[in-house]
Amino acid sequence: MTPLMRMLREMVRIRTVETALAELYRDKQEMRTPTHFSVGQEATAVGVCSALRPDDRVYSGHRSHAPYLAKGGDLHAMVAELHGKRTGCAGGRGGSMHLIDPKVGFMAASILGETIAVGTGTAWASVMRGSDEVTAVFFGDGAAEEGVFHESLNFAALHNLPVLLVCENNGYSITSPLTARQPRGTTVWERARGYGVSSALVDGNDVEAVHDAAVEAVRLCRRGRGPYLLELTTRRLLEHVGPHPDRDAEHGAETDVRTRSCPVVRASNALRSADLGCESPDRVVDRWRQEAEQEVRLAVEAARAAPFPSTSTLLDGVHHS
């Protein structure tokens, strides 16, 4: 498989998983945890994570499913977590905004900007320990307004830390457009330059472009020439939190633009049948979708069947004993 094929397959998988979960979230109401889907934004997670090694670390904010899965996080553990089950990746205690998978070096937090600092810290630890691991941190355009972004960028640049800051700019913070929050004519990637940080603006719905930019950024970080900031423009197709189509998009008559810019559609179009042997792209994508449907179906069944944590464990694990 070509890199593009691998990435498309992963995007199709994430899209399929999230779409299935979004429907169940809406209809069954068994996942009682505020959930921020990445539908429409898959290329950022997939393009960046495909440029990382398994021992590299990834952090994200509240919109965490796509980076979690792209980094190789356990699907069953994620779905169980959304269902609040004992088998969840955080034992059902963290929910959608606190996914974690230590085996693949992934973790997400709910407060805007927090993990920008945490990821800067793990990158610092890599340097202290003499390892060449890189840390990538996903955060939104909104999180970039928090002071912790500035403080972390300053620190990362001061110590040349191997941290790749990935700003997923979807143009909104909940319902608030960028124009209501950041000065016109300015960008996050240019702001990074003020700290001497290398940066680039990339179409975040073009998974190959994201991947290529990330490969270069990771290379620099791994050689001690970090940090690096990637600003990736993208669009979310569902509402900020929850399963419904994004109303701002509808009202703004942006639906078309969004669909046309959909990273899955675009990557599918880019696939030449040549790459696929005798199969047509549509059929291949379809097969991947079916595989992912099966995968998420099993994960949901397992999650449903799994036990809730016993209330007798309510107080367990607050402290190291």
Partner: protein, 344 residues
């Protein structure tokens, strides 16, 4: 009197204060959108537009300082936090500057910075979206900290805040927004520091703020079934706290249960117990019982979440414990799912 929901009462208070005083403005993340912070800022936006109901960037710390600056220059900001937890980012401006301003600078004008913080509840809000910070803010002199439980108090306390000259933190439990109650049409302030007797009773005193006042009233219903008459006191503000009301009730009942959504250690329940121990310890005929979340962060998983949040049943059982009565044949009440139901 006509009834309003808690959210409508907040909205009405805001609109009335803005109409009466052109220096009042509302600011916060997404306050101008259709949902309008659970319907509390929408009417104001419609009435006064984007120049007085202002969406702001995600920058809690600076924004507290910015709002403070407008207050220092004669404005009256009403800052809305969609979760009180986010105010932990603004602690420096609130504690190190706002709460101390009037005293430290000897500035009689003070800085009337009013902050609303929504306390999340239910639907797996989890550890960082459901914290009740009354005990933290309550610790610091210079602040007023209110926890309205009823629509009328929500309205009246906001009015007090927006007419006063002190920095104020208002904590609103999301479980309350759809709650209905009688609310006066006029803009009548409810003073800080004066508690409310939510229910008269003789056998045991329950002190409970915000959402817990309602759980305490439900507990009083349950207790009435087994012949126990519970008095429910809602402090309305925790700084200043109406110690007098609590003391005189306990002096009469001899038993004290404190129910709160914030943790017990160094919490609201500690302060209420301390006030009694300090002033009328002889009145206590049984140990004080604190009904609070267990000493852990709030979990998301549904059964854990249900076990985490204190409710009427736990309060009622605590009262029976205080009264050394048998709780074995006590009927378990139907759980109410507080306010919100999903999906998000």
């Amino acid at each position: 009197m006509r009834e309003l929901t808690y959210a409508q009462a907040i909205s009405e208070a805001t609109v009335q204060c803005m109409a009466a005083d052109p220096s009042v403005f509302v600011a916060g993340q997404n306050v101008d959108d259709e949902k309008g912070t659970h319907g509390t800022t929408r009417e104001a936006f419609e009435a006064f537009g984007p120049s007085r109901v202002i969406d702001v960037p995600n920058a809690e710390n600076a924004f507290a300082g910015i709002a403070l600056g407008t207050a220092a220059a004669g404005m009256r900001p009403l800052v809305v936090h969609t979760r009180a937890d986010f105010m932990l980012l603004a602690m420096d401006s609130v504690i190190n500057l706002a709460s101390k301003w009037r005293y430290v600078y000897g500035d009689p004008a003070g800085v009337p910075l009013v902050m609303r913080g929504v306390v999340g509840r239910g639907w797996g809000q989890g550890a960082t979206h459901s914290q009740s910070l009354q005990s933290v803010f309550g610790h610091f002199p210079g602040l007023r900290v209110a926890t309205p439980a009823t629509p009328a108090d929500a309205k009246g306390l906001i009015i007090s805040a927006l007419q006063g000259r002190d920095p104020v933190v208002l904590l609103e439990n999301r479980g309350l927004y759809s709650l209905k109650g009688e609310v006066p049409e006029e803009a009548v302030p409810v003073p800080f520091g004066r508690g409310r007797v939510a229910r008269r009773g003789d056998d045991v005193t329950i002190v409970a703020a915000s959402l817990m006042a309602h759980e305490a009233e439900r507990a009083a219903d349950l207790l009435a079934d087994v012949g126990v008459s519970a008095e429910v006191l809602d402090p309305r503000s925790v700084r200043p706290l109406d110690g007098g009301l609590i003391m005189s009730s306990v002096a009469r009942t001899g038993h004290l249960v404190v129910a709160d959504t914030s943790w017990a250690p160094f919490g609201f329940s500690a302060e209420v117990a301390a006030i009694v121990a300090e002033n009328v310890p002889g009145a206590l005929r049984s140990p004080v019982v604190r009904v609070t979340p267990p000493d852990c962060p709030a979990p998301v998983s549904f059964p854990l979440e249900e076990a985490f949040h204190p409710d009427a049943e736990r309060i009622a059982r605590a009262c029976l414990t205080a009264l050394r009565l048998d709780a074995s044949e006590f009927r378990t009440p139907r759980p109410i799912t507080a306010g919100f139901s999903g999906p998000f």
